[in-house]
């Protein structure tokens, strides 16, 4: 079989970016949560908030560190595998990515150190300020990345001269049509992710009866938040979808599995899209509902995939099913939040072990939902790299061979497997160590390193026989 450098490059990018995205999607939500915890402690002086803040700051440090490590690769991917794309779009993508780096470094240099290591050394108000700035910084970081991504989906403010994009209107380019909804959807996804992870870990602590007082507070707070956030996310997602309908109708057609433009289109719950036949082999749907959702009329017109030639259609089954995974998990998350509200009556929330177990398991669902959502929006614009203007095939590095692409794909998978395994394993140890004050932490007179990872000092392995089965 001939190795296709284009397909392998797409796989490599998808792999690297998916792997990387897991970390920021969590840290953005977690940073805000830590700021809130520090704020509560500042206001109420209750030690439980402080313990929670310290514990989650340690987790934040490790995840942030892993995000930085996996992000280094991202800044080179564009050049190694997509050099034509890089060259053509550098006038916009270059400054956007650089500003992300600038923001991240500014944040790390100015505030992260104070947040991670400044507790007890700077006034409490300064520490709180640093926590807020770190949270703000994570938003600004994602602002640039999502602006660059949205511009590739809905390019604006640029003019194509001799094969290179020149920016004619910076604010039109940065705040391009799909940016506001994409940004809101992603930020809300980060909040939901942070909420479910904190809820899951707190539930686990309650199950084993550790630090009950602090974890009850954390769990209760998360569930109130999620009760508001999860339905809000669905509403934002709906607006994001309407925006996509306006600018990328083919993507919406693939999401709905709708081949022919029509009115009174059903909402398909399941289907088997057959790209070769340009039809669904089998489908189950609710009549008129897709029309109703997308146009707010039962007889509204929904675009079909056949509006564009077959070679301008995305891989329909992938978009279709990724979308259903995302929405399905979204509905599940709303449901779990509502059950939490119901269990509050009679104070069963903290005692209902089945529910706590469910929460524990739910902590991975937002990650899957986020990745599924990215698959929808990224594969759904195929074959376009810059929508309507440049295809993947035009953007890929011309000198790249299939063998080279396969070599680095396997290479990055290996590297990331090791990083991920070590990082995740270490995180479980940090969580297992829990909220107890770390031994000798404050007594140690030697200056700590000011790297993110240095904020966690759980051990990677044990000096004696393995004890993790305990």
């Amino acid at each position: 079989m001939e190795l296709d450098p284009l397909l392998l490059s797409r796989l490599q990018f998808a792999f690297v970016v998916s792997f990387h995205a897991i970390f920021p999607v969590f840290t953005i939500g977690l940073a805000s949560y830590i700021a809130v915890l520090n704020g509560l402690f500042y206001k109420t002086e209750h030690p439980a908030w402080d313990r929670l803040a310290q514990f989650w700051t340690r987790v934040f440090a490790v995840v942030f560190g892993m995000g930085v490590v996996s992000g280094i690769v991202m800044s080179f991917q564009f050049g190694t595998n997509w050099s034509n794309f890089s060259y053509a779009t550098a006038n916009f993508i270059g400054p956007m990515l650089s500003y992300e780096v600038v923001t991240a470094f500014f944040l790390e240099a100015a505030f992260l150190g104070v947040l991670l290591f400044g507790r007890g050394k700077v006034p409490q108000g300064v520490h709180l300020f640093a926590a807020i700035m770190v949270a703000l910084g994570t938003f600004i970081s994602s602002f640039w990345i999502l602006s660059a991504n949205s511009w590739m989906q809905t390019p604006a403010g640029a003019e194509l001269i001799d094969g290179r994009f020149h920016i004619t209107d910076w604010s039109a380019a940065i705040f391009n049509p799909s940016f506001p909804w994409r940004f809101s959807h992603k930020v809300m996804a980060s909040f939901v992710t942070g909420g479910f992870v904190v809820a899951g870990v707190s539930a686990w602590y309650l199950l084993i009866g550790r630090d009950v007082e602090a974890n009850r507070r954390a769990l209760s707070m998360c569930l109130w938040l999620l009760l508001v956030l999860t339905p809000t996310q669905a509403v934002i997602g709906d607006f994001h979808g309407l925006n996509t309908l306006e600018h990328q109708p083919t993507k919406v057609a693939a999401m709905e599995g709708n081949w022919e433009t029509d009115t009174n289109v059903p909402l398909l719950l399941a289907a088997w899209p057959d790209q070769a036949a340009q039809d669904n082999r089998f489908e189950i749907g609710i009549p008129n509902l897709a029309s109703l959702i997308l146009t707010h009329h039962v007889d509204g017109e929904v675009p079909g995939l056949s509006e564009v030639p077959e070679d301008e259609q995305p891989t329909v089954w992938l978009v279709f099913w990724s979308f259903r995974v995302m929405v399905g998990l979204g509905v599940l998350m709303i449901g779990v939040s509502l059950v939490g509200l119901w269990l509050r009556r009679g104070g069963r929330l903290y005692r209902q072990r089945g529910y706590l177990q469910v929460l524990r398991l739910m902590s991975v669902t937002p990650f899957i939902a986020v990745l599924a959502g990215w698959f929808v929006t990224e594969t759904g614009r195929a074959p376009w790299l810059v929508y309507g203007l440049m295809t993947h095939a035009e953007g890929v590095t011309p000198s790249l061979t299939g063998g080279m692409a396969l070599f680095t794909l396997i290479g990055y998978m290996t590297v990331y497997a090791v990083v991920f395994a070590c990082g995740l394993y270490y995180l479980t140890r940090v969580v297992r160590q829990g909220m107890l004050p770390e031994s000798g932490d404050d007594a140690d007179p030697s200056p700590h390193a000011k790297r993110p990872f240095s904020a966690a000092n759980a051990r990677f392995d044990d000096d004696a026989a393995p004890t993790w089965r305990q």
């Binding site: 690769v73 050049g79 060259y87 400054p95 650089s98």
Partner: protein
């Protein structure tokens, strides 16, 4: 917009970023390369401890440089990275393994030997790949119509292997003199012993490269030999630094060997820049050919000029906090 040359400003910024990276990540990569030769496990602790607080800040410059190149000189970005495809992968993989080794070695006991290996191999591979980039830069890239048209392994020439190994030795020298500054006792004596040997190796490597380079690129030959220029000052200063280094080691001075080595690197680097200036994608493209649109360069310049002083101040502060000797048993973080 015409009143000042943005491409020139950006060339200075990127040039500054590159030398900052080489000098700062250089000595900690060098320690990784020296790792297997260290006299004891205790010495390894000290070696790693001496850079643990600052190494990730050192790599700031690499990421800033990568993103800055895309923003300011996209041709460099879109030619070098495809041309050095496998080399870039090896460098990144090396840096990542070495990065996690930093984080987890001190948190481990039983698995420590694995983190030692990751640290050493990661450092060596990354250093070699960076040296090979220099070789590939000197030799130039086949580019047609602003697109790289060479093959996957074109970069791996005997010349690039020479520059790769040279940079490994050079980084090892930086690492050894850094260790003189930061250690004492037996470890310091070991560092004093190996420094002259490494210096000799570096000077031989530089001599070979200096003879070879004008043969590889006639334009470089012309620059140096057509009419005697002020640029001969640069290799002269580099040699002076080498002599200073030898003397400082002989007198058992602690800070001067490292500073002399920094000088040696700086003047060699400036010599290389002077050989090629203003060509940035050899053999044909200058910094002005490789530039992005002026409005993009300007837009990005504002942010970078704002953040560079902050990063510099933060860097200076970290080095200040962790000044002084590292002793065995010091805080393992």
């Amino acid at each position: 917009m015409e009143s000042f040359d943005l491409s020139m400003i950006w060339a200075v910024i990127i040039g500054f970023g590159v030398i900052m990276y080489v000098l700062m990540d250089g000595f900690d990569l060098g320690l990784g390369i020296l790792y297997p030769f260290a006299p004891s496990e205790e010495a390894r602790d000290v070696m790693m401890n001496s850079v643990a607080p600052v190494w990730d800040g050192n790599e700031t410059w690499l990421v800033l440089g990568g993103a800055g190149l895309l923003g300011a000189f996209p041709l460099v970005y879109s030619v070098y990275l495809p041309a050095l495809y496998i080399g870039v992968f090896l460098m990144l993989a090396g840096l990542i393994f070495r990065g996690i080794a930093f984080e987890f070695r001190f948190k481990s006991r039983r698995n420590r030997v694995w983190w030692n290996r990751a640290f050493c191999w990661g450092s060596a591979v990354a250093a070699f790949a960076q040296g090979a980039v220099v070789g590939a830069y000197i030799e130039g890239f086949p580019v047609e119509d602003f697109v790289f048209v060479g093959g996957a392994m074109d970069w791996l020439t005997p010349f690039a292997v020479l520059t790769g190994i040279s940079l490994m030795v050079g980084y090892a020298l930086l690492g050894a003199t850094w260790l003189i500054l930061k250690s004492e006792g037996e470890i310091q004596r070991w560092a004093y012993r190996i420094t002259p040997v490494l210096l000799l190796a570096v000077l031989s490597a530089f001599a070979m490269i200096s003879v070879w380079t004008p043969l590889v690129d006639p334009a470089v030959f012309q620059r140096w030999f057509d009419h005697i220029h002020l640029i001969w000052v640069l290799p002269a200063l580099a040699l002076a630094c080498a002599a200073w280094l030898l003397m400082a080691v002989h007198r058992r001075q602690e800070g001067q060997p490292f500073i002399a080595t920094l000088g040696l690197f700086l003047f060699t680097y400036l010599g290389l820049v002077a050989s090629k200036w203003p060509v940035i994608v050899p053999p044909d493209y200058t910094i002005w050919d490789a530039a992005s649109a002026p409005e993009s360069q300007l837009f990005l310049l504002i942010g970078v000029l704002f953040v560079i002083p902050i990063v510099l101040a933060y860097t200076a502060w970290s080095y200040w906090v962790f000044r002084g000797k590292v002793r065995p048993g010091d805080g393992y973080h």
